[in-house]
């Protein structure tokens, strides 16, 4: 039976998660690139959102969430045909149309997150083709494993709002693409600084607010679970931000806006998988852990390994998400203010399940996104010409300039 209160919250949560991508993530990323590439980033996020939406209706939703086996769902709900207008989503008090849309917004933001790895140099056609294949071959299966009744779910893995499904898949793929594409011209010494940190902060704030829909919405009800998910989400973000500020203050004497907002995102990504299972105290610890680990991983990837994962998708989302998935096994312990382990479960037992989840997701994302990238390379080519890269993608690929003053 449909509950109006829960439905009211989930419709709102859906709007909030869409808002995370459009315009939240688009502006967050857009502020970090050169002014000559701003529109290309916005365009990638916007077009990916549209492409995924249509694909979601055309079958992706059905493959991820409709019955099927341990590995993949079936095609029973292609185009939502056969789903009556007032159908109730199985196991919820929501109209299926709302559940369909809520899940769609997750499927939209995940490939959009990957944009951060290849900004300023990837062909638009390649972005479109890659994102579509990636949705079907990486996102959909992993979503089915974890949330669609697949093998990881059966095993009891805990990923409340997408540490595995969203952040780890995106993060790993980002690393693969960054390596295959190669660095931007001039990387690492001669790349231009973020052209509009103010825009990055504005987008980051929208991500934060929208994240309430992401995590608290994942409760699928408007009650205590949603309330606590919102609470731990916010606390983790705030804590990780302070961590990042403190580190920069100590290291450089100058805490930065870009750093602070990056810390917030790290804290949000880290708490995401845990947000339905842990308490406020744990949120502080997870925020500290996520903030610290992500901070140092940025340096490791960019400066130690010299991989131009341009906007640090792996270091922030991949690492943060995995950290959260692992720590969930610890802090879901009732003794630590969590919801407690399932009947007969234990911390060590849950920990190994969580690690299997991380390993499987990591491996699958790595291999499949590598293969997809190679295919796309063969079909459209991955990278724009050096001249286009110099002049900027906006004018060359989209015939526009972001600023015509």
């Amino acid at each position: 039976m449909i509950d109006a209160g829960n439905t009211a919250w989930l419709i709102t949560a859906t709007a909030l998660v869409l808002f995370m991508t459009l315009p939240g993530l688009a502006l967050f990323y857009g502020g970090l690139v050169r002014a000559e590439n701003l529109l290309s980033v916005l365009m990638q996020c916007f077009a990916i959102a549209c492409l995924v939406s249509v694909a979601w209706l055309a079958g992706a939703y059905s493959l991820a969430f409709n019955a099927g086996g341990p590995l993949i769902g079936d095609l029973g709900k292609v185009l939502l045909i056969g789903v009556p207008r007032d159908a109730v989503a199985p196991g919820t008090t929501l109209p299926e149309s709302v559940f369909f849309m809520f899940q769609m917004t997750f499927a939209i933001i995940t490939p959009a997150l990957i944009v951060g790895a290849f900004v300023e140099r990837m062909r638009f056609s390649a972005v479109m083709l890659f994102s579509l294949l990636w949705l079907l071959l990486v996102y959909v299966p992993v979503a089915h494993w974890v949330w669609g009744g697949g093998w990881l779910a059966a095993m009891g893995v805990r990923d409340f709002a997408g540490g595995l499904v969203v952040h780890l898949t995106a993060g790993v793929t980002a690393l693969v693409l960054a390596i295959l594409l190669g660095p931007r011209l001039g990387f690492p010494d001669d790349v231009r600084p973020p052209h509009a940190p103010w825009m990055t902060l504005a987008g980051g704030c929208m991500l934060w607010v929208g994240w309430f829909g992401f995590n608290a919405g994942s409760a699928l009800t408007a009650g205590a679970d949603a309330g606590m998910a919102m609470t731990v989400t916010h606390i983790s973000a705030a804590t990780a931000t302070l961590v990042w500020i403190v580190i920069e203050w100590m290291k450089f004497g100058k805490p930065s806006v870009v750093g602070a907002v990056t810390g917030a995102i790290a804290g949000l990504a880290s708490i995401t998988p845990a947000s339905g299972y842990v308490g406020p105290g744990a949120a502080v610890v997870i925020g500290i852990a996520g903030g610290t680990v992500c901070y140092f991983m940025v340096g490791v990837i960019k400066r130690r390994f010299r991989i131009d994962d341009s906007l640090d998708v792996f270091a922030v989302h991949g690492v943060g998400g995995a950290t959260g998935v692992a720590l969930t096994a610890v802090f879901m312990d009732a003794a630590l203010g969590g919801v407690g382990f399932p009947e007969g479960g234990s911390m060590s037992g849950q920990a190994s399940i969580q690690l299997i989840g991380i390993g499987a997701t990591l491996l699958w994302s790595l291999v499949v996104s590598f293969v997809i990238a190679k295919v796309v390379q063969a079909v459209t080519g991955l990278r724009v010409s050096a001249e286009t890269e110099e002049q900027g993608l906006d004018v060359r690929l989209h015939g526009e300039r972001a600023y015509n003053m």
């Binding site: 600084p193 450089f252 100058k254 870009v258 901070y295 940025v298 340096g299 640090d312």
Partner: protein
């Protein structure tokens, strides 16, 4: 006539304009430029990566003046622009062969 070009610290602009008004300079043209020289730019740090700004924001003044007051103008600009810190800037003097006030078509010194 002389065509005087001065590259200065942005925050000295008002002081200089007042100084020039004092000695009868009626007009000038200002533009934002970036300077490279002994003074080094600020370092910006984004996500742990340092960006040394090679260039320092400066303001460029262009002042066309009658020969009679050219030296006084150079003096005045120098005095008003000086803070004693590296990066105070330069004043350059070029010869100006002709000038016209568009509105009236006046030529030469009358145009200034």
């Amino acid at each position: 006539m002389k065509y005087i070009i001065a590259v200065i610290q942005p925050h000295r602009l008002e002081a200089i304009r007042e100084a020039l008004a004092g000695i009868g300079v009626q007009g000038l043209t200002v533009s934002e430029v970036r300077g490279f020289g002994r003074q080094k730019g600020q370092t910006e740090i984004y996500r742990g990566a340092e960006y040394v700004m090679q260039y320092v924001p400066k303001v460029k003044l262009e002042i066309a003046v009658d020969d009679a007051i050219a030296d006084a103008v150079v003096e005045a600009v120098g005095a008003a622009a000086r803070t004693g810190r590296i990066g105070d800037g330069k004043v350059f003097v070029l010869d100006l062969e002709g000038a016209m006030r568009v509105r009236t078509g006046e030529m030469g010194a009358d145009a200034l």
